[in-house]
């Protein structure tokens, strides 16, 4: 994996982001993620996590607000922003009738990567994710874990600076989950930035440099686990010292629910 030099201090800057469906899904959200950071976005169901990330990836148009990806205005110049990021959802969207290798060739073609470079990266990724023995099999018979690994390989083949993952570990067995986590950690070590939503709080606790908690479309807390404990403890009279992320998260969400 090539080392990625951080070109800007912030991989993602979101300000005043608003999206309404029947009710406000994202309600004036401000969020900043530093380059080279592993950022976990947590929140209860319907908090607005996926909606936020889909707007960043260019899959939804916000009603108001601004999104900058590595300093590029993603709303004014979506093509330039997309060039340096990758999106992976919980339901791996791949083509059943293509092989992993063909899928990676297609993705590399979409991102305009030189064939020789793309092929080298594809082979590296397929080996890394234990997909090499299946490189010439069509994806239609693959398990959920294998499909998710193919999608992950597709996201990495164009060497993105920002990777956005929406519940990437849902439905994966322990072995596949560990592989995915290891690949993500490697990306961050190489200077890449990762933003991930997850309901598996243990994963966020172990992997994330910083954690953001979102509820009712607003960021209600942010920081390292220690900082979150402090924020949650403030309302509990310091009762959260040494608490797990799960306890801290639930305390923060309960506090927000009471305030609302």
């Amino acid at each position: 994996m090539k080392h990625i030099m951080p070109p800007t201090p912030f991989a993602l800057e979101i300000s005043g982001l608003v999206k309404r469906f029947d009710r406000p899904a994202v309600d004036g959200l401000d969020l900043t993620v530093r380059t080279g950071e592993f950022y976990a976005l947590l929140g209860p169901n319907g908090a607005g996590k996926t909606t936020t990330l889909r707007m960043v990836a260019g899959l939804l148009r916000p009603d108001a607000g601004a999104i900058k990806v590595a300093g590029i205005d993603a709303l004014a110049d979506p093509v330039a922003a997309k060039q340096i990021m990758a999106w992976i959802s919980d339901e791996p969207m791949i083509y059943d009738k293509l092989t992993p290798r063909e899928y990676l060739e297609f993705v590399a073609g979409l991102w305009g990567i030189a064939p020789a470079l793309a092929e080298e990266r594809a082979q590296e990724l397929l080996s890394w994710l234990d997909l090499a023995p299946h490189a010439h099999e069509r994806c239609e018979g693959f398990s959920k874990g294998m499909r998710q690994k193919v999608a992950l390989a597709g996201a990495l083949v164009h060497d993105p600076r920002l990777i956005i993952l929406d519940e990437p570990l849902t439905g994966l067995d322990a072995g596949s989950a560990r592989q995915v986590k290891s690949v993500l950690r490697e990306r961050v070590n190489a200077g890449g930035t990762i933003i991930m939503t997850t309901h598996i709080l243990e994963v966020a606790e172990r992997m994330a440099d910083r954690i953001g908690v979102i509820a009712h479309g607003k960021l209600i807390a942010e920081g390292t686990l220690e900082e979150l404990r402090l924020q949650a403890g403030r309302t509990n009279g310091g009762a959260n010292d040494g608490a797990s992320l799960e306890d801290t998260f639930l305390a923060l969400v309960a506090e927000q629910a009471q305030a609302a």
């Binding site: 997309k82 060039q83 791949i94 063909e102």
Partner: protein, 510 residues
Amino acid sequence: MTLAPGTAVWFARHESRLGWRDWLSMITAGRRERLRRVVIAILVFAVFMHFVAYWMVGRYADAPIDKPMLVTITASILLSWFLMISQAMESMTRAFYSRSDLDLILASPVAAQRLFAVRIATVAISVAMMAIPLAAPFIDILVVRGGLRWMGAYGLIVAMGAAAAALAVGFTVALFRIIGPKRTRLVAQVVAAVIGAAFVIGLQVAAILSYGTISRISVLQSSAALAHAPDLGSIVWWPARAAMGDWLALIGVLAVSFALLVVAIALVSPRFGEYAVAAAGAAASRVSQTGRQSAFKKTSPRRALRRKEWTLLRRDPWLVSQTFMQMLYLIPPAVLLWRSFDDGNGAYNLLVPVLVMAAGQLAGGLAWLAISGEDAPDLVATAPVPASFILRAKVEAVLGVIAVVFAPMVAVLAILSPWHALVASGGIVIATTAATAIQLWFRSQAKRSQFRRRQVSSRVATFTEAFSSIGWAATAAVASVSLVLAIAPALIALLVVAGAWIMSPRMAAA
């Protein structure tokens, strides 16, 4: 009334509730508030069809039972029955391979064979229920004009449904045993598609080879056909006689059909579970090695998209069979073209609209697959290329397939009659563009596997696409003779396309 769980009646109620809700969802495209409008539309259509039926069959209501009449009715029955068998095979394949509730049922302690018996019977009922609304206007007119004896036709449809389901079950199970569950799904679906079209195409080809015309009636009413037809007392005519009110014949046909269905249920339902488990195993172990390792090719995003569309289409034989169903209907005109090499008759005027119509229909199906049937929409939407660029590449993929399919026929036509080839080319380009544009305006996100139900998502798109193809085919037919006269049908076709544009969701949202 409380039914004992696990009994056949209890399963029948379960199946009928699911079937009813599925049907409602299909006709309303999942929006219950549309139900009233849909019912009104169905009633209006039914009234219209009764007028059409009056015009087509009203004069035959009092016709005597003679050979020409029996030949024509038997051919119509066979045509319908082939379509019913095709539909029943489709349903049976889905019953074996669709997992929906099979895991739940097979894992439960109830006697699953009762459910499977009900499920096979349901196929028979659903096939008959699909045929009845189509046949009803014709039967009703015959009853009104010719008397109650024609009510026998309704009984015949029920018998045809039972026999079609029995044959479909037998054929699918035979395929399971001969070629295994892995290949059965595809083969059964392709065979179902071919059976549906085979009879009508066969008649047309026979008509062309014998009489140089595409009309099926000419074969049925020919002296050769009548001379080879069995005597009036033959058992072959029982279905036709049953339809015409011969109650003895009707009882005979019903008895044979239900006996077939009962035998099929008795033989297959105890082993249905085994087949379903085998089908699941085949799906789980689906490993297709594809090609040898070749180096990544230099490409642009546009070329990558086009190539992806073509590869996906090529590798899904079922989709190919569904999409290219229209191509089967090109066989008769192709035969007509081949004959024209010998005698040079004036059949080109007939060929041109058929080619244009087929191109429009094929383009509509392909455009849906390429534009709406995207299995990785997020991937394509997050690619660093403008959305218009992606759409353009997908449209190019559609046009490429149309060019490959129709170019050879137009080339042959160009040798025979350059003028007709020119008109056909123009018509194919316009019909293809119109069908693709309609699919663009009505695009929605769907899985490619939903292709079979694509008509449900937008009936406006479906009807305007069909009427546009018919309009451009008519324009091409008239243009073959006179360009000036072609202005009128061209304007009508343009109006249809403009109407689609005005009614499209994007225009409505603007």
